[in-house]
């Protein structure tokens, strides 16, 4: 195992990436938990569900929590809301810390570099506290013996996917809680922001418009659907909100870029890279391209190509690992 680790702290998943002699290893855990009363202990043991005991309750963590919640008709609790931890959910942060320890493991040596992801401040909800989020994770990871370094989530995608372009490009990380955007020129971050809309917003909007539950919409989405050819009313609703989300993010690129356009001279066309769990929906790339084409005329710079990250769920962790590894090269 080589030194350096990349840690993607997402609303839906926690992903750790480490370099090995033959490639890269990823560890992933669902960022969710379910609290059940102590009396259920026997039942859980019988059904072979892993759990942990805390004070007067039992906690089912990760993927199992999502599965169990679906069985009991409950919603699993999510420590992160719209991409950030909240001080009012300090109980959840304890669980999140535990999950982080499990997925990250102990450092190979004391003070090993761990780059962890932080979202950019949301432009559409400026009151959200990104600093608190960053400090909480910095503390938890430092306490584990790592040298914790926060790094922008969307920039990590540039580091993972744009080495051939000398780390130049525009990246979109369509996450569950929010959508992060970054623009980089030769590894220099020129623009980064986030919008407080992501996969959860799509589920919520589609569920509300059809009188269904958010969990149902999420499961339809995760089972696999073709955004370009929705076949049911639910898929049509999801497709509608996907289009709204992409359009919303692209509009903000125009707004935010206009604020800084005088500072840059973009001579060469930029590639656009789309990534994140929400971008795993079928035909997402074609769908994104179709929405982008309608706005291409308004775009203040040339776009050379639009492509998807090879591994959308792990791209952020990969980019963070690139940053961690360069500390040892």
């Amino acid at each position: 195992m080589k030194l350096g680790v990349g840690m993607d702290v997402g609303t839906m998943n926690l992903v750790a990436a480490r370099s090995t002699e033959v490639g890269t290893d990823f560890s992933r855990i669902r960022d969710a938990f379910l609290d059940v009363p102590l009396v259920s202990k026997k039942l859980l043991r019988l059904s072979g569900v892993d759990f942990i005991e805390r004070d007067d309750e039992l906690l089912i963590l990760g993927d199992t929590a999502m599965e169990t919640a679906a069985v009991f008709g409950r919603e699993a609790r999510r420590p992160l809301k719209a991409g950030l931890v909240s001080p009012s959910e300090i109980d959840s942060i304890e669980v999140l810390g535990f999950l982080l320890q499990k997925v990250l493991g102990p450092p190979v040596e004391d003070g090993e570099y761990c780059y962890f992801s932080v979202p950019a401040a949301p432009v559409d909800e400026p009151d959200r506290d990104v600093i608190y989020h960053k400090r909480v994770f910095e503390k938890i990871i430092c306490d584990m013996g790592y040298e914790a370094i926060p790094s922008n989530e969307a920039m990590a995608i540039i580091y993972a996917c744009c080495a051939e372009e000398r780390f130049t490009g525009l990246s979109f990380s369509f996450g569950s809680g929010m959508t992060n955007v970054a623009m980089s020129l030769n590894a220099i971050e020129c623009l980064s922001f986030s919008v407080a809309r992501g996969g959860d917003w799509i589920d919520h909007g589609a569920a509300k418009s059809l009188g269904a539950t958010q969990a149902k919409m999420c499961s339809i989405k995760e089972k696999g659907m073709d955004l370009m050819n929705p076949t049911t009313r639910e898929e049509e609703a999801l497709s509608f909100y996907y289009k709204e989300l992409i359009s919303y993010a692209l509009d903000y690129v125009l707004i935010e870029f206009n604020k800084i356009r005088s500072q840059f001279n973009l001579n060469e066309p930029l590639p656009i890279i789309v990534s994140g769990g929400t971008s795993k929906a079928g035909s997402f790339l074609d769908f994104f391209k179709a929405v982008f084409e309608r706005k291409r005329r308004k775009f203040p710079f040339e776009v050379s190509e639009i492509r998807a990250a090879e591994d959308p769920l792990n791209a952020v962790a990969q980019g963070l690992l690139v940053q961690a590894r360069q500390e040892y090269i």
């Binding site: 990823f26 992933r28 990760g62 300090i90 304890e94 810390g97 400090r135 206009n258």
Partner: protein, 227 residues
């Protein structure tokens, strides 16, 4: 004490194919106008009378037995009038006639200082709207203001300052600058240290792609910038 002896002076300016008319407004000052050749031609080759203004363009005149008046349009809604003795007025007309023939009347063009009265205002407004992207201007202005405010707030946050201004008299004015800091938020020291134990399902996967090449490039890129 030096003063301007002549009331008027007319000269053809070849560079712009126009007529420069200098008119003495008082003993110590002269006003100069650059006039389109065609306007001066129209003015100089008409016989003025005392009842109506002669001339088609931005310069017009009239005279009676004793005095002559020159009227020059200097702006959209502004004209200047110069009154002078009849003899001086006739002399100016004669000078104008002799200077006008030096120019090329066909190649005469509008002189910028005299353009505005001749333009239709709606046409002008259209041109302004075409060339001025107000939304872009607004975005740039907002960005500049934001940067200025960030710099200013950054300076204020670094230290609390007391600005003392010494007035010429004994009074001392003290201005206290209040600092707005980001809201402090307590993070418990034992956060994430609560003893919890149990098994959790972790999904593991592996990829053959190595991140080391990208890391090397990133390192090189950073070194390049440091140089």
């Amino acid at each position: 004490m030096a003063f301007f002896a002549d009331i008027s002076r007319v000269k053809y300016v070849e560079a712009v194919n126009a007529i420069r008319l200098s008119l003495r407004s008082d003993e110590a000052s002269v006003e100069e106008f650059l006039l389109p050749l065609a306007d001066v031609y129209s003015f100089a080759n008409t016989n003025p009378d005392e009842f109506k203004w002669v001339g088609d363009g931005c310069i017009q005149g009239r005279r009676d037995g004793n005095t002559g008046i020159v009227r020059i349009q200097v702006d959209f809604n502004k004209r200047s009038l110069f009154r002078m003795p009849r003899s001086s007025f006739d002399l100016m007309m004669a000078q104008a006639r002799s200077e006008v023939v030096k120019g090329d009347l066909d190649g005469a063009r509008l002189v910028f200082s005299q353009i505005r009265p001749r333009l239709d205002s709606s046409e002008l407004q259209e041109k302004i709207q075409e060339s001025l992207d107000l939304s872009q201007f607004r975005a740039e202005l907002l960005h500049d203001l934001e940067m200025l405010m960030k710099n200013y707030i950054g300076q204020l946050q670094s230290t609390e300052r007391v600005v003392v201004q010494q007035a010429p008299a004994k009074a001392v004015e003290v201005t206290r600058v209040k600092i707005k800091r980001p809201e402090a938020r307590f993070i418990p020291s034992d956060l994430g240290k609560k003893q919890m134990d149990g098994r959790v399902k972790i999904t593991r996967s592996a990829s053959e792609a190595s991140m080391d090449e990208a890391a090397k490039l990133l390192k090189q890129s950073k070194r390049g910038k440091e140089k």
